[in-house]
């Protein structure tokens, strides 16, 4: 075990996977000499050279499109989108091409491309450097959508993504890049997709959160613990396919569910989680399922703190569930 930040864990994993498998190629804007604007890919260019660490011309659709062709022809491309907000120029390549190639070819042409994108707010990034676009991709059949909240999971999930057979959107909570530190297993460490994690066990309320909202959920759990409320925090890790069994089991025990995410509420992934819980746990529910989310506005700059869910808002939803 070593201590690492989330960012270091991702960087180390890229180094290890590139060293392990010559098919792995890293590509994106400024990922080469610069080492990425967040420095996640630092050192790769020097170690593996410009043919495997590609500083790309500025065109996200083209980058994802080229990665698709590379994956079709045997490479394992890991694309960095500089900020998740700039994934929309590549939206067509992701939803129309990448997500559908296996299906539309009857299984003949899988395209295992990994797309890493720093997502979420909390860094004073304003509108175009703060969004959480996961729901757009979960809504598209054929994509695995991942968001780690610990350094160990970042390693295990990224290694699974690079070695796996499906296209993966890997949303990195950039607010946690350097603020979260933790133990990371050395050597081979794979976290399977579709397996969530109980970040903290509890018996009274199930609180589902991912990415940068996991620490917020834990703080909210601390706050209500003083009032005798035991919160179970679940981090699905893979958003899609979701570990519904873990959530279902938890809610059937606690009888209460709160979903917490940064993205806007309407049609956010929280809506899907709430619907699934309602379908599966209805007879166990003691209170309506609550959502704590961003507002249905564009992401603001000056009012970022107002916009983002925080431990207080989350604790409020937990208390409301308890007192229903």
């Amino acid at each position: 075990m070593t201590q690492a930040t989330l960012l270091q864990a991702i960087r180390d994993t890229l180094h290890e996977e590139m060293a392990r498998d010559p098919r792995v190629v890293v590509m994106g804007e400024d990922v080469g000499r610069e080492g990425g604007v967040f420095r996640v890919t630092e050192g790769l260019h020097a170690k593996f050279g410009p043919d495997r660490v590609l500083d790309m011309p500025l065109n996200e659709g083209g980058i994802v499109g080229m990665a698709i062709g590379m994956a079709l022809n045997g490479l394992r491309p890991v694309v960095e989108i500089e900020f998740a907000d700039f994934i929309f120029p590549a939206f067509d390549q992701i939803v129309s091409e990448l997500a559908k190639l296996r299906y539309r070819s009857g299984g003949q042409f899988p395209a295992p491309v990994v797309i890493r994108a720093p997502s979420g707010g909390g860094i004073k990034g304003g509108h175009y450097h703060s969004q959480s676009p996961e729901a757009h991709f979960i809504h598209t059949a054929g994509l695995v959508v991942v968001s780690p909240s610990t350094p160990a999971d970042a390693k295990g999930l990224l290694a699974s993504a690079i070695r796996g057979p499906d296209p993966v959107l890997f949303f990195e909570p950039k607010a946690l890049y350097r603020t979260v530190k933790g133990e990371v297993p050395e050597g081979e460490h794979l976290v399977p997709f579709g397996k969530g994690r109980i970040a903290r066990p509890g018996e009274d309320v199930t609180l589902v959160a991912w990415g940068a909202m996991v620490p917020v959920a834990e703080k909210a759990a601390d706050a209500v613990a003083a009032e005798g409320v035991r919160v179970e925090v679940i981090d699905p890790r893979t958003l899609w396919p979701l570990d519904i069994a873990l959530i279902e089991d938890s809610v059937n025990r606690t009888g209460r569910a709160v979903v917490l995410h940064e993205a806007p509420r309407a049609c956010g992934f929280g809506a899907e989680v709430a619907a699934l819980v309602q379908e599966r746990c209805f007879l166990h529910l003691k209170a309506p399922i609550a959502r704590v989310t961003g507002y249905d506005t564009p992401f603001p700059y000056a009012l970022e703190k107002t916009y983002l869910p925080d431990p207080e808002k989350t604790a409020g939803a937990i208390r409301a569930a308890m007192n229903f």
Partner: protein, 367 residues
């Protein structure tokens, strides 16, 4: 309709002269049996077109995108594509697939989308693929396959394999962001990629003069630092010659090429289109005189390789082959319902398994 000035910088490469002879300076010099094989495949593509339109009209298939008039492009370029090369075609280029040995029945089965279709009825007609010949699944969104071709050829280059990737697309495709991305990336990375634009004059109803103000599409290549070549797209030997040179250059590490093949789609855009709204009978008649199959037949006659009987034989052989494929495909059962949920991911996740089980149990949406 605006007439384009002929470009001096991008003169049209032509082999077949008006008198039916081949320009000796440019003749790619195929042996006689190969010339006849090319002719046979052009007839096969035409026969498939005619049959597919009839099948659509009689309700046996849902839709079809014809390619009559463009056979010289797909068959001519297809002649030059070798084992190991990657194909990223648009929906009118199955001639290339046939040249690479894709079974006719694979293509016909895709039109039906039944259990004989290896792609399991996932897409509308003309969206075939065949992994055995590296023919990548055709996509509906125009020109999305261009960066894919660049990526596949980059991978080949990285491994030092002497293979190329060829992407085909229409004049409309040259207006897309992906055309720019693909050409630009290919130029920057010097990938072994061939961009074969089949300028058939129209994107559905919109004339090529509404796609660009440039005098030729080939001229666009200059902006990306790659060679652009303009070729008579109704002249199979000319297409073959320029495609062969471009592919050889690509395979030997000299980078990408864009080819603009000037041609004409003689039929409608698709079986849902009425071309009389946007083009005149007169215009169509002019291009019919340049029908690539007729032009090539004349040339083969001049060479003494074809007479009335042999031409008729080629045509009826093609028709019979298509008929046999249709009969074989029509005997297949529909795709099984559970296949709806397969191939979304490598392994089926719980939510798809649940949806499948609910559908199969007849209980509807409830678990």
């Amino acid at each position: 309709m605006k007439k384009k000035a002929e470009s001096k910088e991008y003169p049209m490469v032509t082999v077949l002269l008006p008198d039916g002879m081949a320009d000796p300076a440019n003749d790619p010099g195929l042996p006689d049996p190969e010339l006849l094989a090319v002719f046979g495949k052009m007839n096969l593509v035409r026969a498939m077109d005619e049959k597919a339109i009839a099948l659509q009209r009689s309700g046996r298939i849902g839709f079809y995108v014809p390619s009559s008039g463009q056979e010289a492009c797909s068959v001519g370029a297809g002649y030059c594509v070798r084992e190991g090369d990657w194909l990223f075609p648009a929906y009118r280029d199955h001639g290339m697939a046939l040249m690479r040995g894709c079974p006719l029945v694979t293509l016909v089965a895709q039109l039906y989308g039944n259990d004989a279709d290896p792609t399991r009825g996932r897409q509308m007609p003309n969206h075939w693929c065949d992994q055995r010949i590296r023919l990548v699944s055709v996509s509906s969104p125009v020109a999305t396959q261009l960066p894919h071709a660049v990526g596949a050829s980059y991978a080949a280059k990285l491994r030092g394999e002497p293979v190329a990737a060829i992407a085909t697309f229409g004049d409309g495709g040259t207006s897309t962001g992906e055309f720019h991305a693909g050409m630009n990336f290919a130029g920057v990375f010097r990938t072994p990629t061939i961009f074969l634009c089949e300028n058939n004059q129209y994107a559905i109803s919109v004339h090529v003069s509404r796609q660009t103000a440039a005098p030729t599409l080939a001229a666009k290549a200059a902006a990306y630092g790659i060679p652009g070549i303009r070729v008579d797209g109704n002249d199979v030997l000319a297409v073959l010659k320029v495609a062969r040179e471009a592919l050889e250059r690509a395979r030997s590490g000299e980078g990408p090429t864009m080819i603009e093949a000037v041609t004409y789609r003689m039929g409608p855009h698709s079986t849902s289109d009425d071309p009389s709204v946007y083009r005149t009978e007169d215009e169509v008649a002019q291009w019919r005189r340049k029908d690539p199959i007729r032009r090539f037949a004349e040339h083969l006659r001049k060479r003494g390789l074809l007479d009335d009987a042999a031409e008729e034989a080629a045509r009826s052989e093609a028709k019979e082959a298509v008929q046999r494929a249709v009969e074989e495909v029509e005997a297949a059962p529909p795709v099984p319902v559970e296949s709806l949920f397969e191939d979304v991911f490598a392994e089926m996740p719980w939510h798809l398994a649940e949806q499948r089980d609910a559908l199969l149990s007849g209980k509807g949406e409830t678990r």
